[in-house]
Symmetry: C2
Subunit: 455 residues, 2 copies
């Protein structure tokens, strides 16, 4: 294989065969370990096309990866195949200020890209928690994040994708045009497909002007139910916040302990942490609206975090919740999504189930879009007990989510980790149709062959 | 066939066999005429599934239609098949104010739906010109319209679709969840697929709260170029208008003559007609921003249309441009889209080409998203001359659009009318992939079999 790859990637420093560093055989959690014969680091569409032609001809599995920040085993290879690492393809190819678009390679890191466009007075709204993920990875999971409630998810900012199909064919799907009803919109089915349909080699992204200012506002409540009800009122009042996070007091303590920082309003039971953005006038206008909602919804307090340092501290505690959990124990990170009126019912169920099953569960998340982040905590269980109890408890949690009209994943994807639960909850006709679409792109099933609807 | 259909649709008043009214064999223009053996008017998913199972078994072409308002021959049947008219499925099944969603049947008429949700303090932003089209039709063409610049297109408001596949299988794709990375997002490839992949039988739509107020503002310029440049500045200044329409003075005259109404600022060469919406404070804030842009971009004038009657009159003239053209002559309506910085180049090309080829061409459209509506006017040409010259001229126009990075259709779809031009401009690998995706949904190619990428 080495010689064949060397005839395509003409630089032996960009090919690994023989012993492979485990980081290329796993995801960001590192629990699942896969196998591969080679890792390649292409620098162009042509090289990727060459690798795919070779793999296609020889029926070799190919697993694309960017920074490998995923949490669900979507970059865990299997068999004697090739790991296709696009992290060297990390260039912004064009910033077109006349059409408000950027054309980038898939390996561009999200936080680098955000900083770059903001330095030009522009803004790329998708903002998932993991800033070191790549744009290609974000597109492959249709990454969401905190700003989704106002600005939408990654899908809403993808205007075009250059794709290399499993057989090496290069297809440009989409363009710099803001409307498109010119045949099937092929890029739309690739977004969120977790590397199973094609390798993304170029991305045309939509940008917007950078908002003038922003202000975070913390609302405190005596129950999560009251907090969630206020979210509906905030939406109805057209206050259009950038973020609306719900956090229970018992969860905040974890972040406080981890960071040795204190969160405001410690006597509350639950918080809704929002951000307003826009011109100063708009922010003031919407802050007034928030005060009205706070009053009507019986909030204990409303605290505009005008001090930027205090705002940063509050968001840091929110941002570090997962790390706070992980400082204590291994955990399984879930990203269940439910309709926005079912958040309270779901979190209450989790709280009751936690007591019943004896496994610690920490939930918080994006109240504006029903996306509940749930850390299921291992504690001091041995391997076998953890695996067995975790599976049993996840089955209960996913069953409940689906019973409430929810889904297994709002933004992490399905990967290997949630395959079983997705398949259990999905109708056979949906899975059959997904398989046929997969075959339309990759008849030999060589791209990320182990994933979910593929099997 | 009648007996078989009667065993599925148990009401002979909802089946036509024998002589078929030509309206069911054409589109809204009525120029292309198709053939069919029967028209059915199902009232349920079950009936549609039954009709599809019958058609699948007997290899009969099926052409779905709603109100038949399309302009591109996407409801023109062929062969001895079935026209499947969903216009009786016109019920709003649920308005869920807690999740800000509505679940509707595909035959619900857009203007009825808009009025209904607005009466509840909610808002459905997609607003294509043709208000008598159905929601199912809007989804099938991913309809855009004037508000797309701020609110996006139909795709952005489709959360879930119940589909009947060509073989009669019922698939629910999507849900009331606001984020979804749970397997391939099947609904996304169906949106804009012009009835070729599946029959839409139920639609879960996203709603937003109704904006408090709106204000239209007319900017006048001494050239189209200056007007288009102001559009970029309006976007960059984050003024977020709902609509941004460009119209040349020579085009406005048509509407004035047709309606016997006068448009303001008659000495200008070009206009940008915008609407601001939101709270009164937001509108005032953005109006101030517009004044600044108007000054910087050398606008001749800026006219806030505070008088609702005057605003209505101005929009009526804009809305009646196509009718104004049609009062004089038959015309071919195009909806070419180009990147937003190419509008001026494209319209200038059209103006020069009009003189060169001697066929009248009227262009106006959505400046915020590059969607140029172009009426190509027949005049007194006889059938043969019109057909020949139109084809030659369309070839030139589409070639130019593609050369500028544009596309054949921004919102009308491809249908039968633009098939030739789409195929000419598309790479064979894109068309091949579209055909494979089509086959994944409809291996026998019975659904809207004549359309574009199908053939």
């Amino acid at each position: 294989m080495k010689e064949a790859l060397l005839s395509i990637i003409k630089d032996e420093n960009r090919i690994i065969t023989g012993p492979i560093d485990p980081q290329y055989l796993s995801d960001n959690l590192g629990r699942k370990k896969g196998t591969a014969e080679a890792v390649v680091f292409p620098v162009s569409t042509e090289e990727i096309s060459g690798v795919m032609r070779y793999a296609w001809k020889n029926n070799l599995p190919v697993t694309p990866r960017g920074a490998g920040m995923n949490l669900v085993g979507s970059t865990v290879p299997s068999g004697h195949g090739i790991v296709l690492d696009v992290s060297l393809m990390n260039h912004v190819l064009e910033l077109d200020e006349e059409t408000f678009t950027a054309t980038v390679e898939p390996g561009v890191v999200l936080e680098d890209f955000q900083a770059y466009v903001e330095s030009k007075g522009l803004f790329y709204p998708p903002d998932p928690g993991e800033k070191k993920a790549t744009i290609g990875g974000n597109i492959s999971t249709n990454a969401g994040g905190m700003r989704a409630v106002k600005y939408g998810v990654t899908r809403d900012y993808v205007m075009g994708l250059e794709l290399v199909l499993a057989d090496g064919t290069v297809v440009m799907a989409g363009s710099k045009n803001r409307k498109d009803t010119s045949g099937l919109d092929l890029k739309e089915i690739v977004i969120g497909s977790e590397g199973t349909l094609a390798v993304i080699t170029k991305c045309i992204l939509k940008l917007i002007p950078k908002p003038e200012d922003s202000l975070s506002v913390l609302l405190s409540f005596d129950s999560l139910k009251a907090g969630i009800e206020s979210v509906r009122q905030i939406i109805q009042a057209n206050l259009n916040p950038t973020a609306m996070e719900f956090i229970e007091r018992k969860v905040i303590q974890l972040g406080e302990d981890y960071l040795k920082m204190s969160f405001p309003e410690p006597e509350a039971s639950a918080y809704v942490l929002t951000t307003l953005d826009g011109s100063r006038n708009e922010i003031n206008d919407h802050l007034e609206g928030l005060r009205k909602v706070a009053k009507e919804s019986g909030a204990l307090s409303i605290l505009p975090l005008e001090d930027k340092e205090e705002a940063a501290r509050v968001w840091k505690i929110r941002g570090m919740l997962v790390k706070g959990v992980e400082a204590v124990s291994e955990q399984e990170p879930l990203d269940i999504v439910v309709p926005i009126n079912q958040i309270d019912a779901f979190v209450n169920f989790v709280n009751a189930f936690e007591k019943e099953c004896g496994m610690r569960m920490i939930s918080f998340g994006h109240a504006g879009d029903g996306n509940v982040h749930l850390c299921v905590v291992r504690g001091d269980r041995d391997d076998e007990t953890w695996e067995k109890e975790l599976d049993a408890n996840l089955t209960v949690l996913y069953d409940k989510a689906y019973a409430l009209g929810g889904l297994a994943s709002g933004e992490h994807g399905i990967g290997l980790s949630k395959q079983k639960y997705l398949l259990k909850a999905s109708k056979p006709e949906n899975i059959a149709l997904m398989k046929r679409v997969k075959a339309a792109f990759d008849e030999k099933n060589i791209l990320n062959a182990g994933i979910s609807y593929n099997v």
